[in-house]
Symmetry: C2
Amino acid sequence: MQSPVAVLSVQAPRDDDAARFDVANRLFLRLYQSSNLMHKTGTRAVAAFGATTQQWAVMGALARPGSRESGLTVKELIAFLMLSRQNLTAVIDRLVAAGLVERLRAGGDGRLRHVRLTEEGARQWGAMGPAIRAYYQAALGGFSTEECVQLFRLLDRLRDSLNRIAEPE
Amino acid sequence: MQSPVAVLSVQAPRDDDAARFDVANRLFLRLYQSSNLMHKTGTRAVAAFGATTQQWAVMGALARPGSRESGLTVKELIAFLMLSRQNLTAVIDRLVAAGLVERLRAGGDGRLRHVRLTEEGARQWGAMGPAIRAYYQAALGGFSTEECVQLFRLLDRLRDSLNRIAEPE
DNA sequence: GACTTTGCATCAATAGATTGCCATATTAGA
DNA sequence: TCTAATATGGCAATCTATTGATGCAAAGTC
């Protein structure tokens, strides 16, 4: 196996291809591991509230300033979180069952259903704040703010790239 | 609570904390999205072989030079991929059912079971090579090799950090 | 009015991922 | 030798994620 340092040196194209393959392999393994660990540790961090990282993500989307009052449509949530409709419906169902979220028939386009935080949901989201802050601090404690931004930007580009593969039309 | 970075920074602590929280929020959302998209697009990339990204990861681990002959123990696979034993057992079960992998009672410690690629599994892994290369190229086409290394290193540190949270003992 | 598209829900199947608990075989140590 | 620790398997529950198919209601179009 080659060390990542070797990749930084100037090499022949064939070697560079091999090096890129090796880096890609390691990169995606780290993405796989990091994501699993994020769900594991993140869900533990909010377990006291009976929540999971996915429910946390949905509530976070609904709690944003622009979405708090009238909520978001399912379509908007799908675009924001990038999951399948069926999966999102199931997550929303659990949140509705827990009384944290409600589905509303909004005026205007009668097909649209807005998903909104309930009073209880907003209260709970507020209560989860300190736990979420503490989690972020524990997870990113070793990173400078610049490094956080760097990682964010790279992941943002990777997401866009993968999204382009996912929806070719 | 204050982050160590805020203490060292010249800026007002409150603003820096708020900025870090915001970046962390976006960062983990991108990690969530990227991981989902990786599984979706990756599984599509090897769907012709009836495989998934997880099975691909296990086969990749078993196909490495040092592991090809005598395989890896379940414990080693757990450490390499960082999943729960129950989950890994299920993935291995499916690979065994597909005839791509076999469980062996190795000499020495009788408790250990080595998991190894079968002939068919090794053949299939070879056949999947081009599809995997093409996938890596499509996913990371917009990234320079340096950027790939950069992303790898940041994810590596994030994984270590999350793993430290996951297993406190 | 008939047709198509869009937004959403439902049912079903398969696979991953976690947790928790119990069972078994083997090894290692007191 | 009795006991504890280790490595694995099995069973169960819950939640997440995908795909595919069906259906319905509302909106826009011809």
